[in-house]
Structure formats: C-alpha cells, structure tokens
Amino acid sequence: MSESRPSLALSEQERAKIAAVDVRVATGGLDDVLSLLRMLVEPSWAVRRAVVAGLAALGDAALPGLAQALRSERDSETRIAAAVDAFSASSGKAEQAALSLAADPNPAIAADGAQILGRRRVVAALPALEALIHGPDDNVAVAAIEALGRIGGGRALDSLVAAAQGSSFFRAFPAIDVLGRTQDPRAVAPLAALLSNPLYALEAARALSRTGERAAVAPLSQLLSSRSGANLRIGAVALAELYEQAELRYGTAASIVEALRPLAQSPALAERLARSLPDADSAEQIAICVVLGALANEEAIGALSRLVESPPPIGPAASKALNRLGRDAQAELLRVIRQGGTQQRLAILPFLSSTDAKELVVDCLRDDDSAVRVLACATLAKFGDPSVVGALFERLEDSDAEVAQAALSAIQALGGPLTEQLATALARSPVANLRRSALRILAYFGFPGALDVFIDVMNDDDARLRELAVNGIALIDGDRAMRTLLVASTGASPRTRAVAAKAMGQRRDDSRVIGALMDALRDADPWVRYYSCQSLGKLEWNDAAPRIEELLRDPAGQVRVSAIEALSHLGGDRARRALLNAATSEDVDLARAALIGLGIAPHSDALPTLLSASTAADPTTRLMALSALSKFESPKVLEVLIRTLGDADPSVRNAAWGFLAARSGADATAALVEQLRIGKNVERAVAALASPTRGRVGDIVSNLRKAEESTARGLVSALARIGTDDAMAALVLAMTGETPIVRRIVAPVLGALGTRESIDALRRAETHDPDPEVRRICALLVPS
C-alpha cells in the first residue's frame, strides 16, 4: 500500500506512522479499528489520508465505529471530515448506515449522511434526499441538493429543477449552482427559464456558463441585447466562461463560436460591448474581449485592435482574443488593417496568417512607426514566401537598428534564390553595418559561392566582419575553406581564434580540426580554450578526455565549465567520475553544468547525486537536477517529479509538470490521474494528460474504466484535447463501455466534437444504450 506513495515527501515520523497504519489494516481486528479511529485526528495530512484509506478498506468492520464517531464525537472538524471521507469510500455495505445518519434528528449528522449518500452515488437514496430538500433545516437541504447533483440522472435533475424553482431563496441558489455543475445537457432549459427572474438571473447565467453546452449560447446571448449595462456584462461573462469551459472539456470551443455566429449580425453590439468596458470590473473586461473575439466581425475586430494597447487586463485579453481568431477572420483583419492607422497595424499584424496579406504587409515595411516595421518583418518571415526578400533587404538600411535586425532575421528565415545574390552585392557596401548584415546572411546559409567574399573579409580591419566570415567559412565544404579556417585558428586576434575554435565544432568531416582544437586547448586566451573544449565535446572526440580533464583546474571559470560540458558529451567512466565530483563543487555553475551533464548519458551511478541535488535549497540547482533526472527511467524519478509538483518555486513546479506530462508509461499516466483525483490542480493535470506521449491514449482508457466521476471528466477532456485519431476513436468506443456514468460524460463531448463518427455514436446510443439517462442525453445532443 505504501509502495506507491512518494516516500521522499514524507518525514521519518510520518513514514513510521503510515507503516503502522498498514499493519493495523492488514490485521483488521477490533483493536486495530479502534486505534485507526483514534488516528482520524492525526495532524499530518499524509498520515490521515492513510488512516482514511485504511478504514475504507476495512469495509463493514469499520462502519459502526465511523457512524459512532459521526454521531457522538463531533468535537473536531478534522475527525468529522476524515470520518465522512472514510465512510464515503468504504468498501462495506454503507448505504443503510448512511441512510440512517441522514435520518438523524441532529441536522449536522443528517447533513453528513446526505453527503455520504451523494458521494457514494446511492440511487436508492433519492426519495430520502428529496424529502430532505423539503425538510425544515436549510443546511441539511443544501447537503441533499449537493448529493442529488453527485448522483445525477433524470430523477435527481427533476428534483434539483424543482428546488431551483422553489420559493426558498437559500435552497434555490445552491440548486441552480449544482444544476450548472452537473454538466448535464438537460439542465440547460430549466436554467435558461430562470434568466427571466431578476432574483436568480445572475446565478442562472453563471450556472449556464458552467454547462459548457452549445444550447446555453442562445439564452445567454439574449442578455447581450438587454438595455441594461449590467445584464450586458453578465451575459458577456457567462458566454466567455461557456467558451472557456467548452475549450477545457472538449479541446475546442468551435461549437460555441458557431452558435455565437448569429450575434455578429446584431447591429452595434461590438460597439456597445466596447463602450461598457469602463464600467466593467477586470473579469468582465476580459470576458467582453472574449465575446468580441467570438463575434469576429469587422466591428468587433476594430474594437479589439483599439484595445490591444490598453493596460492589463484589457490589452492582453484583446490580444488573446485576436490571436484566437481563425483563418476565417483573415478577411476582416485585413479590412481593419487597411482602414486603420498605426495602432491597428500594431494590433493586427501579429495575427495575420494569410499570404493574401503579403502586399499589405510589405506596405507596412514603410510605415512611419518603427514598431510597425519590426512587426511587418516578423509577419513576412512567418508567411514563408521568399519573394519578399528584396523588400526586406531595403529595410537592412533602416535608421532604426531594431528594424534592421528584424529584417535580417526575416531574410534568414526566408532564404530563397534572390538572397545569395542580394547579400553578395551588399557585402561590397561601403557602410560597415550593411556589410555586417550581408556577412551574417551569407554566413547563416553558408553559400559556397560566398567563399571568396569571406576570404576577402579575413583581411578586413573590422574584427566583427572577420568573425562572421569565419562562421560562414565553417559551413562551406572543401579544402580551400578548411585551410582558411585553420589559418584563422592560429591568427593573431584572440577573438578570431575563439570564433574559429567554435566554428570548427561544426566540421565533423575533417580530421585536421582535431589537431587544431587540441592545440587550441593550450591557447593563452581563455575563450579560445573555452570554445575548443566545447567543439571537442560536440565532435565527441573521446581521445581528448584526459586533456580536457586537465582543464577542470584551469584558472578561468568558463573554461572549467566548458570542460565539464565537453566531458558530458564524451561519456565513459572517467568522464562520469569527473562529472560526479564536479556536481558537488562549491562553484555553483560548475556543479549545475555537471548535473546537466549527468543527464546527457543517464547512468545509475549518477542517480543518488541527482536525487540529492533535487532537494537543494537553491531552486535553480533543483531545476537542473530535475532536468537531468527526467532522462532517467527509474521509478524514483517519478517519485521526485510527483513531489516537485508542489515545489515552492514556480519555475521548478512548472518544469516538473512539463517533465511528467512528457513522460511515457502507465506509471506516469497513473501519477497524473492521481493528481486529477486529488483535485488541487485539475486543469494542469488535464493539460498534462493531454500531452500525446507514447501509449498515453491507451493508459487513459485503462484509467477511465475504474475512475470516479470527477476523475473520469478530466480523463475524457484529456482525450478530447489530445485530438488524435486514436484518441477520437477511444472516445467513440467509450460510448459502448460498461460504465453508464462514463457514457454520460462522453456523450456531450462527442456532441461538441461534431464529427461524423461522434454523431453516429450518439445516434446509436440514443436508441440502443441500456441506460435510459444516456439515451435521454444523446437525444438532446443529436442534431435534428
């Protein structure tokens, strides 16, 4: 039982207590149960969880004690919560005992009983729970409402609708909230009806937004046509939430966007939305931007483009909304950019994705504002059409250095037949900056025809030009280029020698570079030694290891680090021993470089050092250790990754989530499913599960079969977000699975995906599914 726990996260004392719990559970006598019941107030969450799991595993033997604790030992909230958890998860026949608790005259005990019935999804308890909704105590009624929401199904839904429409304010509100959280398509119509009741409109709108259902778009859209600014904002917030929910659950909000499309015809709606921004709070402002993006008409795009430069949260939200616009909106984007000024160009250029815009973007290269010119360069690079390089070469002469740099980057990204010719001509320019740009381009592509240009430049007074030429020569095959490179490596200028040493790391094909690099390890200049080490490592020249090891004692820090990096690539026992020594060096950069190196060729010898570094006080060292550990297959690494999901430093946490997401294997998937089950980081866990690693779809499907409802929802979302053919096939197949609750969860997802296969699956389930609830849900989802 304790084997699967991340033992590194526990103290010695906690580990001992958990081991004792395991022994008690294995023995299972009355004394053991009593002892475990006393441990329900353990201060350690980890120990308490083990106790709860143990009592649940003991089943019927523990139920009387748990019931007794809930009835008579209510002095501790911790004990009550733990007892309810154990009762809810009990493997025993807990239904009758829970019903008895729910019938207790003490409202607090009755509420606990209702909660347990809900968590155990006791369908037979529906009449009792319905009675509690109408009972005298509001708290008990709310617990019963929550329980009905968990049990789900048509009858529970009807009871919740009745509660939502009832006269008790205190019961209607939670009922509306629960209806939204059921994510049951049948909740949409009754919630929509409540929008007309001013008392409940806001809550109903919130609940509708949580359904993620396309059918909720129409009633929520009506709020946007209200004369009241408050209603307009409520509608925007709800529609934006609906959009987000759909994206989270189905991996796409396409069905919501499609349902919103008729709104684009509403006259002046975009303008009204934009005008309402000053009165809106930050959440409303973000929502208004989302709705403007979903409208995607010219008016809405114009409004968004004017908002992009607003301070947060409006500016970033407007950018995000523009970024979400698909190819469909390109025509509107172009219209707005054509009619707009600098601000519109700045706002919209990053989001153009159509080569139809090429001419317009080339025009922007001559905009008065340098920021527009920079963006235009980047946009043309993104389009990937090399026919524009002529216009970009003109911008190399731009008075603004950032524009010239952007043009250079764009030319390097585009290449094309004109580039060599234009760059060769520019290399003869009398202007030093232009010659540098030309050399950068020629060196980047390593055009063989540029060798003469490079050789000429080797005699230039400008050191930077010589360095660029060396870089270019390294990319050109042939003896003449190699001889020039070798001469440069022994030249008078340390910088040129350093660049040559670096460049030689790219010449795997010529043995002469090894001799030159080995000589350069003794160069007087530390940067020459630095790059020589680096290049020998890149070339994986194992014979250099002894000489490189000597450089671990070099007076220059950067050379010592470079020696470590080189040894990481060379491998072998000696190199690994050197890395292990360096990993505990007092020079943090040397130690970090060694940690990274130990991950390049994973070896079990390195594991203890890396595991130890993963608990270092310094977050950067933890991050390095984690990066290296992620390359190891050991189960201990999984434990570290799980522990590090809760690291105090956000960068380390982020990296741990990334590594766990990218890790293949059933254990890694199970670890993410456990995060989903714990429920603290549901969105991150779903996103991580949605990383399509090898075997991930199959692992998710295996977990789906045994998952509780909330976990199953996350798993289904992950499959939808993976979006590959096998994931889609798994979703369709899940509609024929054994568990009705999974089929109920999958059905709306298939409806939202709207593919031929998914709709066919819904049609089949509409008529043939053995579960009447599933049939009713599918009937709502199948397009008429």
Binding site: Q405, S409, Q412, R440, A443, Y444, R464, E467, L468, N471, R495, V499, P526, W527, Y530, A556, G557, Q558, V561, S562, D589, R592, I596, P619, T620, L623, M624, S627, P650, S651, N654, A655
Partner: protein, 273 residues
C-alpha cells in the same frame, strides 16, 4: 549567425543572476521579455549562445562593466512628467514647504528615478514656491545609461503624455523640434547618484531623508526583495519621515514598521517619530 536560443535552464540561471545582483525578478511569465533583452545585448557582443554570454557575466566580468551594460538594457525607463502628481504636490505642501518654513533644510530622495522626470516635476513645484535652493534633492537609479539621460535634461514627446498643470509646465519646460527640455537650474538642483536599492550599504551612504519617493518600482521585486528594499529605505528615513510608493503598490502585506496614513486620497508610510 543564427538567433540565440534559450533553454529553460539557461533562463533560470540568467534570471537568478540578474535577481541576485539587482533584485529585479523575472518570473515564468517574463521569460520572453528577459530573453529578448538579453539576446539583444548578447548579439551586440557577437554571442549566439546565451549560455556563453552567461559565462562571460559570471567569470569574465570582474569590473562588472558588462553587467552594468546589461542592466542598462534591462531597466525600463518607464516614467513621465507629473506622473501621479497629487502625491508629488503632497510631498511639497505637507513636508518640504513646512520644513523650509520652519528654518530646516529638508532632504528628499527619488529612488529609482529612471530618466529623471519625477525629481524634475518635484523641482518645478519647489521652484514655483521659490524654495528649490532650500531643499536637498537626491535622485538615484541602478542604470548608468538612464542617469546619463536624466542629467542631459532632454526628453521625448511621451515624457509629456499627461500635463495636469499646463501653466506650471509652460514655465519650466520647453519643447522644440520634438525635443523637450527643462530649465537648466532644475536639472542642476538634483544630485543624481547610482544606487542599487537592494544594497543596504549603498542606501545608507546617501544619508537620512525627510521624504523618499519610491514609486512603481517594488512591483519588479519578489516579496523577499521588496521587504529588504523597504527595510533599507526605512533606515534612510528620519523619524517621522515619509515614504511614498505607487498608487497600485501597498506595503501592508510586508509587515513593515512604517505606519500607513492617508492624506487627501494619497497613501504614504511614516516612520514612527
């Protein structure tokens, strides 16, 4: 030459180095911003690997010359004349003018002043009351480049994006050919210093102040650094002295010994007297 690329590990060591030396915190969300700025500087020096550039900073920059150049690239001189001007007026009316009237020579420090628009706005108000020569006006920043610009007294058009008191501005500011200049006696009245706010010794060397303005700066620091910077500033205040922070900043979560007060809608923090 290819565009420098940055791995998360390199970003982590670079941001840790910047934070250790300046206090400026670059979190995960600022990765692109930091990368862009460091890349630009590394490219200028001919580095196409940011790790190589990092090792230059770490092992081959004993006189900190390159790190200073990097700070110049990283620091955003985002300020303008008359920014959050009510607080500046309050500094003059409630603290400096009464102290001068009482025969004292008050000292005021504009911490992290960027290109100097804030101390110059303060100087305008003091000159307007005829007490500019009676107040010690110190302004500091970590970037030598922005301090050089502040000393030059020339500004672009965006420095005048808000002019709450056009009459005052017209008496001290002259804009011709797209260049904004302030009257030379204002610039001459300010003692510009280079100060790293995280270094307690450097702050202590400035002496004690009646008022410190440190506005829209603390947002760039992590909580621990903010606590340290506020402690440094607190030590630089005379008993009863006041610290002004930006309107969107609050010290209440820091557990500082400074006492928050509200005057005419402006919040300030007083050192118990």
């Amino acid at each position: 030459m290819s565009k420098p690329t940055i791995a998360p590990q390199v970003l982590a060591i670079l941001s840790a180095l910047v934070e250790a030396k300046t206090g400026i915190h670059y979190g995960i969300d600022d990765a692109a911003l930091l990368t862009d700025k460091v890349e630009a500087r590394a490219r200028e020096l001919g580095f196409d690997s940011l790790l190589d550039y990092y090792y230059l900073l770490r092992y081959d920059d004993a006189d900190s010359r390159e790190f200073d150049a990097l700070i110049d690239v990283l620091v955003v001189p985002e300020t303008y004349f008359f920014r959050e001007f009510d607080a500046v007026k309050l500094v003059v009316s409630e603290f400096l003018a009464p102290a001068v009237a009482a025969g004292k020579r008050p000292r005021v420090w504009c911490a992290a002043c960027a290109t100097g628009e804030e101390p110059l706005s303060l100087a305008m108000l003091l000159a307007d009351r005829g007490i500019l020569g009676d107040v010690d006006l110190v302004a500091s920043d970590i970037s030598l480049r922005v301090l050089a610009r502040a000393r030059a007294g020339k500004f672009g058009g965006r420095a005048l994006r808000q002019i709450p008191d056009p009459e005052l501005a017209s008496r001290f500011i002259d804009t011709r050919d797209g260049v904004t200049r302030v009257r030379s006696e204002l610039a001459a009245s300010i003692d510009y210093r280079r100060v790293n706010l995280t270094e307690s010794r450097a702050v202590a060397d400035l002496g004690l102040f009646d008022v410190v303005l440190c506005r829209n700066v603390l947002i760039y620091f992590k909580l621990e650094t903010t606590v340290q910077v506020v402690e440094n500033i607190q030590s630089a205040l005379v008993p009863g002295g006041a610290l002004f922070v930006g309107v969107s900043e609050s010290l209440l979560r820091l557990g500082t010994a400074l006492v928050c007060e509200e005057r005419s809608g402006t919040f300030l923090y007083r050192k118990p007297g």
